[in-house]
């Protein structure tokens, strides 16, 4: 068995919102070009945790963090880190599809333009490639100037994935990306995520246990701000070490 | 490089935000620095409660009590005229108005708020003064004329704010009452109206603030005599009109007396504004 290479390593991460401690010293290694799923009941800290991987928690005024998160061996919470460059490398897809009220083209081109690409031909290529990667090119290629809010929710979410891919990230964070979608759209996105794994490291929060077992390589089970158990997905779902994990996946609470 | 741009713009935004604080401070300083020393020199009580305003006599008297009473009279008059009609119209807008009509009437209320006060004043001068002269007597320039005019001018304020207060009451209150067999009218007056009370009161206070601060419309139709009016048909001078009438030629002590009048007006406005904020904050969060 080859030793896995880790893209990100979290060491003793503690996080507070004001006086409330949401995360209690988490340690986790996220393997490169694999899919890691976070599961656990509502309020267990999995969404908070995923948001600290690209420092989206910086936007919350009362949020305070201790510990380190390394991306390729460099601490992202170091004061020298350029947050915008970090977020270029670590992209994110949200629970609710949140396209900008602009055209589909401008949505995808927004990120590359942000990072200084102005050449029209180059932008065209990026837009096409990203939409293809997100498996939505065929559906929208004739309507690129249409407002992104005018298409269906499932399509919007794939536009958001394409938009995240367009800046060329290495890691893709997905915070319950299908919980607001219908089953058919969900299936499309699961399929898409499995395809993307060859090029990207993917971290996914999900409420849907079947989704985690279908899609992910590794799974971490969160409870009350702790990681109770983390390991190979098949093992977690068939033969977990911890009783709480067993209880949760068998639906006895949460 | 990119970071410094962010910092510079943040600084510009911050300075812009400070602008309104600086503007307010300047206003307060310039009005008070000129007005308060005069009040103290002349005698605070003599100024506020003095019955004589004869700035051109020698020695001059600067008593603004008639103007304080004048402002209070016309403002109360405006409330008597404008509040019932305004609140009832708001009820009409919120609960009786068919949608197709609402599409026309809502912009009409906004239009009513946008008509310049000088146009209202001119209209009152041409229409109300002769009517009042003819049917009630006097020369038409009176407390009554000013009250009716200001009553109309505060309508849009009272209507829009009361309407949104009524609309903010959860529909379940209304359906709950209807379900008990109450009529549409009873449900509105016994359930919705009390629930929207704070919002309606704050709309009235804001309207009163408008009325007490109005100048140019009033100056055309109030007669402007600096004595306490003894009837609804007597002429009246308010704090605001006192300033605008005499500012053109006032100098020295006289000018300071007018600025001191503005200090008193400012005091009234601050008082009304804090009452308004009190009720606005009280406005129930359902």
């Amino acid at each position: 068995m080859s030793t896995p290479t880790y893209k990100m390593e979290v060491k003793d991460l503690k996080l507070w919102y004001g006086d409330f401690q949401a995360l209690h010293g988490l340690d986790l290694a996220i393997p490169d070009k694999k899919i890691t799923a976070f599961i656990g009941p509502s309020g267990c800290g999995k969404s908070t945790f995923i948001k600290s991987l690209n420092r989206m928690n910086d936007l919350i005024e009362t949020c305070r963090i201790e510990g380190t998160i390394e991306l390729d061996g460099k601490n992202i919470y170091d004061h020298k880190t350029d947050v915008n460059q970090l977020r270029k490398k670590v992209g994110m897809v949200f629970q609710q599809p949140n396209p900008f009220p602009k055209s589909i083209y401008d949505n995808i081109a927004y990120g590359p333009r942000t990072h200084g690409i102005k050449n029209k031909k180059e932008l065209d290529e990026i837009v096409e490639r990203s939409l293809k990667q997100a498996a939505i090119w065929d559906e929208v290629k004739d309507y690129l100037d249409r407002n992104a809010l005018s298409i269906s929710g499932g399509q919007q979410q794939r536009i958001c994935i394409a938009r995240a891919l367009a800046v060329g990230p290495e890691v893709l964070l997905m915070d319950e990306p299908t919980s607001a979608l219908d089953p058919i759209s969900t299936a499309k996105i699961e399929e898409l995520v499995s395809d993307l794994k060859s090029e990207y490291t993917i971290v996914m929060v999900t409420h849907n246990m079947q989704q985690a077992s279908r899609v992910s390589d590794e799974t971490a089970f969160f409870l009350n701000g702790h990681i109770i158990e983390h390991g190979d997905t098949r093992k977690i779902f068939t033969n977990p070490d911890q009783e709480e994990t067993e209880n949760y996946i068998s639906g006895r609470f949460g | 490089m990119k970071n410094s741009k962010e910092m510079i713009m943040k600084g510009i935004f911050f300075l812009s935000a400070c602008f309104s604080i600086v503007a307010l401070l300047l206003i307060v300083v310039f009005i008070f620095a000129n007005g308060v020393p005069f009040m103290l020199d002349y005698g605070f009580f003599k100024f506020i409660f003095g019955m004589e305003w004869t700035p051109t006599n020698s020695p001059a008297s600067y008593g603004i009590f008639p103007m304080i009473i004048g402002s209070i009279y016309v403002t109360l008059g405006a409330a008597v005229v404008g509040v019932p009609i305004g609140v009832m119209t708001a009820i009409f807008m919120a609960d009786f108005c068919p949608p197709f009509l609402y599409k026309i009437l809502k912009p009409a209320v906004n239009l009513m708020a946008a008509i310049p006060s000088i146009v209202y004043g001119f209209f009152a001068l041409q229409v109300f003064t002769p009517l009042i002269r003819q049917y009630f007597g006097g020369n038409g320039y009176s407390v009554l004329t000013a009250s009716i005019l200001l009553g109309i001018m505060i309508l849009p304020t009272v209507i829009s704010l009361s309407e949104s207060a009524l609309r903010a009451v959860p529909r379940t209150y209304y359906t709950g009452s209807i379900a008990l067999g109450a009529t549409h009218e009873r449900s509105i007056f016994r359930v919705l109206l009390p629930a929207a009370k704070s919002g309606i009161i704050s709309s009235i206070i804001l309207g009163i603030g408008r009325a007490i601060g109005e100048t140019m419309a009033v100056v055309l139709i109030a007669g402007n005599q600096a004595i306490i009016p003894d009837s609804l048909l007597s002429g009246v001078r308010t704090l605001t009109t006192n300033i605008v009438i005499e500012m053109a030629y006032a100098t020295g002590e006289h000018r300071d007396a007018l600025i001191a009048t503005a200090v008193v007006l400012f005091g009234f406005i601050l008082l009304i504004n804090s009452i308004f904020l009190y009720f606005k904050n009280k406005e129930a969060k359902y």
Binding site: L59, N84, M92, N98, P99, F100, P101, Y110, G111, T114, H115, R163 | E6, K10, I12, F14, S16, I21, A23, L24, I27, I31, N34, P84, I85, M88, T89, F92, C97, L105, P107, A108, N110, L111, M112, A114, P116, S117, I118, V119, F123, L125, Q126, L155, I159, T183, E185, I212, G213, T215, M216, I243, V244, M247, A248, L265, I269, L270, N273, F276
Partner: protein
């Protein structure tokens, strides 16, 4: 009271309100339109023709100058309050309080202040610049409030999306938030325009009432509303005052139409 009586009062009040509005508008139009002679739009105003053309031009100057200054300051203040400052920040509280108070200050107090500060203390004399700067302070709260509300209502998700793509704060504000907030800000600008067009008390002792077009920033002039005040106060030119009122109403009607259009777009954009 029976339901019928109550209903009667409600309908009667609405009839009085809108009847009065209709009366004001039609009274002015019917009495004014016939006096709208070409003379009234002569380029130069004399005591014989009482032309309102200079007043129309001056109104445009004052409105334009005011918006040019007040819009960026107001919008930037909104940016600072909503996008940068912590809600508990004492500066935010102070700005909010100042804005509320400025919104409540009567026009005549602005006029007096403008006279004491711009006209006298800064020696601008009765002038375009003194009138504009006074109008700037007066209209500022309208723009700030409108911007604040518009920014808050754009919501968190599009901001998050932009930050997550590695965009900085400025880029997020200007390319993502601002376009969405634009109709709301625009309706604040229209409101401010209306306030300046209709203003008299604040301008009488700052802009003055000279009857010709101000030649430079330091000359006096009169806006349409001031022109109308002078005419109706003197009482010699009642017909022309009616005609001026018609033009003034026309301005207001156009602005109101604009703002209705904008708010229609606003509610459509929300869906």
């Amino acid at each position: 009271m029976s339901a019928k009586v109550i209903r009667g009062f409600v309908y009667l009040s609405a009839a009085i309100t809108f009847g009065m509005l209709g009366y004001v508008i039609f009274f002015i139009l019917i009495n004014g339109v016939r006096f709208l002679t070409p003379d009234l739009f002569a380029w130069n105003s004399t005591s014989e023709n009482v032309s309102m053309m200079p007043a129309i031009i001056t109104t445009l100057y004052v409105v334009g100058g005011t918006l040019l200054i007040t819009t960026p300051i107001g919008v930037f203040t909104g940016f600072y309050l909503v996008e940068y400052a912590n809600r508990k920040n004492p500066i935010v509280k102070a700005v909010s309080m100042a804005t509320d108070t400025l919104a409540a200050v009567p026009s005549i107090v602005y006029g007096l202040f403008g006279f004491l500060f711009f006209v006298t203390f800064l020696s601008f004399r009765l002038s375009l610049i003194a009138g504009i700067l006074t109008s700037v302070i007066m209209s500022l709260p309208l723009i700030i409030r409108a911007t604040e509300e518009a920014l808050v209502s754009t919501g968190r998700p599009i901001r998050e999306a932009s930050y997550a793509l590695g965009a900085g704060k400025l880029r997020t504000i200007f390319t993502v938030v601002l376009p969405v907030a634009m109709p709301g800000i625009l309706s604040g600008v229209i409101l401010a325009t209306g306030r300046v067009i209709g203003e008299t008390a604040a301008l009488l002792y700052t802009l003055g009432s000279a009857s010709n077009i101000p030649g430079d920033l330091f000359s006096s002039g009169r806006t349409l509303a001031l022109h109308m005040f002078v005419l109706s106060n003197e009482g010699f030119h009642v017909d022309q005052a009616y005609a001026t009122a018609v033009v003034l109403l026309l301005f207001v009607l156009i602005l109101n139409g604009l703002s209705t259009l904008v708010s229609a777009r606003l509610s459509k954009g929300g869906k």
